[in-house]
Symmetry: C2
Subunit: 237 residues, 2 copies
């Protein structure tokens, strides 16, 4: 009896994964507007009603994809945060993880962008929204922890009234903004920005230098560290 239930449940989750996988591919090909429940059903060779047994509407599918994305990044951040070294080096490792995430899972990042700008929130379930917030919060905490380590070890200072999270917010904004612009602006090269990812690294390092987070980027080869971390993170599979 127990095994029967689990077999059913296994089938269910497996089908759910198939739906999500298909939705991801579709999203890649035809974009958010082209994503259609009818087409998903047809491609799955299931009826529409069955698809709706898994996800109450289209937005739930999108948000489920976004949840996977945030979960994936959270895992990568958790791993990067344990990189050996001083606080600033660990911060560089986080930066490398963020880069690796976008490179390794471009669709994940694209979904996150969609979720952050379309008004899909109202139609989605409370749970998934909370999951999203939870992942976001955990990520903030992880990176904030590194900042707090640095603060307690005297590697950097913050002005009175500003929190470790404020600093993290700056890094987060910089990264999210940079990749969004990269993926949506057609005229970067024409305007003298030949290697935006390199420009992002520079800005990031200069921001941390501005916080006087030692050792400064002029004294350590952080790009080298980042390349090393990335290689390590992208290694398996």
């Amino acid at each position: 009896m127990a095994t029967v239930l689990t077999r059913k449940e296994r089938e269910r989750t497996e089908r759910e994964n198939r739906i999500l996988q298909l939705a991801r591919e579709m999203l890649q090909e035809v974009g958010y507007l082209g994503l259609s429940m009818d087409r998903i059903a047809a491609e799955m060779e299931y009826s529409k009603g069955t698809i709706y047994q898994h996800f109450r509407n289209k937005e739930e599918i999108i948000l489920a994809l976004a949840n996977e994305a945030l979960e994936t990044r959270l895992a990568m951040f958790e791993r990067a945060a344990t990189w050996p070294g001083d606080s600033r080096t660990r911060m560089a490792a986080i930066g490398a993880a963020a880069e690796a995430f976008v490179e390794r899972y471009p669709m994940h990042f694209a979904v996150e962008q969609i979720v952050r700008s379309s008004s899909i929130w109202e139609k989605t379930s409370e749970e998934r929204r909370q999951f999203m917030d939870a992942c976001e919060g955990r990520c903030l905490q992880i990176v904030g922890g590194i900042v707090r380590d640095g603060l307690s070890q005297g590697d950097l200072e913050l002005p009175p009234g500003r929190s470790a999270e404020d600093l993290v917010f700056g890094l987060w904004s910089l990264n999210f903004g940079a990749y969004t612009i990269i993926s949506s602006s057609g005229s970067l090269k024409e305007n003298g920005i030949t290697d935006p990812v390199e420009a992002l690294r520079l800005s990031q390092n200069r921001m941390l230098d501005g916080h006087n987070w030692r050792p400064l980027s002029s004294d350590v080869d952080y790009p080298g560290v980042m390349d090393q971390v990335k290689r390590e993170m992208l290694k398996d599979e």
Copy 2:
């Protein structure tokens, strides 16, 4: 004959503006997904066909709104760039203009976000896309000009191989990312980021400090300058 044509043309552009105004309001109320051509037509008391004489599809309306947004910001940047003072102070003025833009025209910024993440590009006309790129490029040039002024006056240095535009890209990403996250994340306060706009200012100043752009933010009250610029820019009407 000439006057007849101009009257007709005036009527035409006026109606076009009415459509855009209406679309903007609708976007505010019901979001991108709720924006409907039928509803625009009904509200305008014109038939759908007439609306389609102005805009070949829904995406064109969105992009037209985005064009207005970029045009507005360009004007604000042009004005801010002439603020008297050294290069770094003028940079602070640009930052203030960016803030003022989002505060004064939140809908403009929201439209920009939509355009940057939905896949509406394929359906839109070449001209409007070019206009978009042109505004973007001009903005980059204006801010890049301030950086070049600073470089030539020895107020800051850049590593070899990095351009003034690379620096601007960092600021641009930081700002765009920050406002996107602010408008889409429900859990900033819960995670210790009580005043994200203040956090953005800090990050921005620290980034410029990291570029060693003098005078440093520790020596000048740039937030005070920014408040002053903003007051000036938001003054008229």
